[in-house]
Amino acid sequence: MSLDFNDETFRGDFTFKNSAKAIKRFPFPFPEDSYMYSVNMEPHVPGPVGSVFEHMFDVDEHYVSEMRDRAQVLADDPLRCQSLPHMELAGWDLLELIMESKARDYPHWFSLTKDGNQWHWVNRPLQIEQKFTFLDASTLPYGPMEYITRQTQGDFTLQDQRDDDLWIEAGMVTTQADWSLDFDIGMSFKQWHAPVPLAHQMGIFDRALKFLLKLQHGAPVRRFNWTMTVDPLLDTSPENYPKWGPGKTTMTPQTIGHRQHLRVELQTLHRLPRSNAIAFPIRCYLIRFEELVTVPKWARRLHRVVRDIPDELATYKGFLRNKPLMLEYLAPFDDGQPTSPGFAPE
């Protein structure tokens, strides 16, 4: 593997780690010292150089190893990638969006050349070269959505829009925070969000749906979500709960700094041009507590967020059991000093 990419694992011996550079650019999700749901969407426009917002689709040091992990998940359980028949056009839209973005943003790694519908794609980090006919699925080794998302970090779902609702009808989901594409596929917006506590009563989903139905091509938006994960597992799926769930019961004050991770999802939403569907990339970033506390502001703030979060939310996010251990670990890093507003380290 080249110098640009780590050789690491997200299972077994868990050799995943963040470099100093990756810690510095980590998308810390809390702009203030407390957390409550909000729609919190903003335009997905290019951010500062080096940040995870710099490009439409962030490619970082974990890219090659994450794609290797995805291939393993799919080999074990092909149902993690599904696309209902009418969603193939949306898959092509997504493939075009990703290929054009990556070739533009990372020309040293990716290139795309077109002669009409005859396309030539080169992915140097994964050593892939593919000539194919755009909109002709028989010229690719997988369907268009599966083909491109085997080469792109983050989970993806594609939502069809009809009857004033969004319907989750295709997806590649191998790095999820405990939800199942196989269970949700075909559901409407409120159906697949049904398990989320509190937010329905707050009207969050009414507002979010109304907003998304009007999402315009060329004006993507983004938001954060977050949870907690023990050990650097990308695949925390309900299907595999027996494999990873019990890990939550074996953490100790000695191991928490190393094993407990803050899991942040950078979620973006894009209107797709040909299909009028919406693409929803859910990009997962992991950081261990012992990496996170190297940034004093983040350590102070995370302590306050975990301390004050309502139990319903801690339960839904799956860390109520370990909340006391987390607070015990984080408290020494919180000297009571005020924190500056915003996400930045300081």
Binding site: P43, L89, D160, R162, K214, Q216, H217, V221
Partner: protein, 321 residues
């Protein structure tokens, strides 16, 4: 939260007189670049500077959705309208610079349909021209039933017949030809979706006939842009921005808000999409709700207004804008 996509600076590449009532306009990007691909049924909002009056009218795109070299729209001249179509007909010439919005689709095809049954009246043909091209390219199944006043006013009839053959059925009002909708709907295969675009009465007739024959609402789609109606001038207070404005007889409330320098959201400007929905803080009088968006209950309470098409008569209207 903003939904504003960057606007498209264009130059008029071609103006074609299709018949006595309709002109077709082709726009290309000023910088020579590619237009975004779009989906059949999408519209753009065309911005006009009509001698100092800013007009923004939505028009369905009718060029091939995969043609990224330019966009085409057709505009029917409306002598009794507020002036947008007259401006397009009289003043827009090749070489003129204009501005378009990004395409927005409020009339998409249902991708699950086994067959698309399209019913067009007059200028309502335009979204179907793009949709047929897209369905054809994907190998889908469709049928067009197109009602026009006379052979002379049958825009694009020859082109469509030449392209799509027996899938195109044309009916001439002046020859007494009518779409036999009941027979048509009776003979459709399972999984057919119906789409209607044209005059208000025709759309209502399609919905009512399909409903009476047991078609589910979700299999019947329609699009009707409303032109903002003219009316009497009225005063409005904008609470959030602290301004008082007068809406002129031939101006919409939304246009008056924009003219006062207040930013207001919009997409279709035709009472269909819901984007410009605005809270009413006080209403001493009567709101003329002209939109398709608010429910009858919402309209009755006068707590919301769609400023793109609705007007007011009375002594005081205060909006949260």
């Amino acid at each position: 939260m903003s939904v504003g996509a960057p606007k498209i600076p264009v130059v008029v590449a071609e103006v074609v007189e299709v018949n006595d009532l309709i002109k077709r306009f082709r726009f290309v990007r000023r910088d020579g670049g590619a237009m975004p691909v779009f989906s059949g049924g999408a519209h753009v909002v065309v911005e006009m500077d009509d001698h100092g009056v800013r007009r923004m009218n939505p028009y369905s795109l009718m060029s091939h959705p995969a043609d990224t070299m330019g966009y085409e729209i057709s505009v029917r001249r409306d002598e009794a309208g507020r002036g947008g179509s007259l401006y397009m007909h009289r003043h827009v010439k090749p070489g003129m610079e204009m501005v378009l919005s990004q395409p927005v689709n409020l009339f998409p095809l249902d991708a699950r349909a086994k067959k698309h049954l399209m019913i067009a009246g007059g200028i309502g043909i335009t979204p179907f021209v793009a949709q047929m091209a897209q369905v054809e390219a994907m190998g889908g199944r469709f049928e067009l039933h197109y009602s026009v006043r006379s052979p002379v006013l049958g825009a694009y009839v020859e082109h469509l017949k030449a392209h799509y053959g027996p899938r195109v059925h044309v009916y001439h009002d002046e020859h007494g030809e009518k779409i036999d909708l009941q027979t048509l709907l009776k003979s459709q295969p399972l999984g057919t979706h119906i789409y209607a675009c044209g005059p208000k009465g025709m759309i209502a007739w399609v919905h009512a006939t399909a409903k009476a024959m047991g078609w589910p609402d979700r299999a019947v789609h329609s699009e009707e842009f409303l032109a903002p109606p003219v009316g009497q001038a009225f005063e409005v207070q904008l609470a959030a921005s602290g301004k008082s404005i007068t809406v002129q007889p031939n101006q919409s409330l939304l246009e008056a808000i924009e003219a006062a320098g207040v930013e207001a959201p919009y997409l279709c400007r035709g009472g269909a999409c819901g984007q410009c929905e605005t809270n009413v803080l006080r209403c001493d009088g009567h709101i003329e709700h002209n939109d398709h968006w608010l429910t009858d209950e919402q309209k009755a309470t006068n707590t919301k207004i769609m400023p793109c098409v609705s007007r007011f008569r009375g002594t005081a209207l205060i909006l949260d804008r």
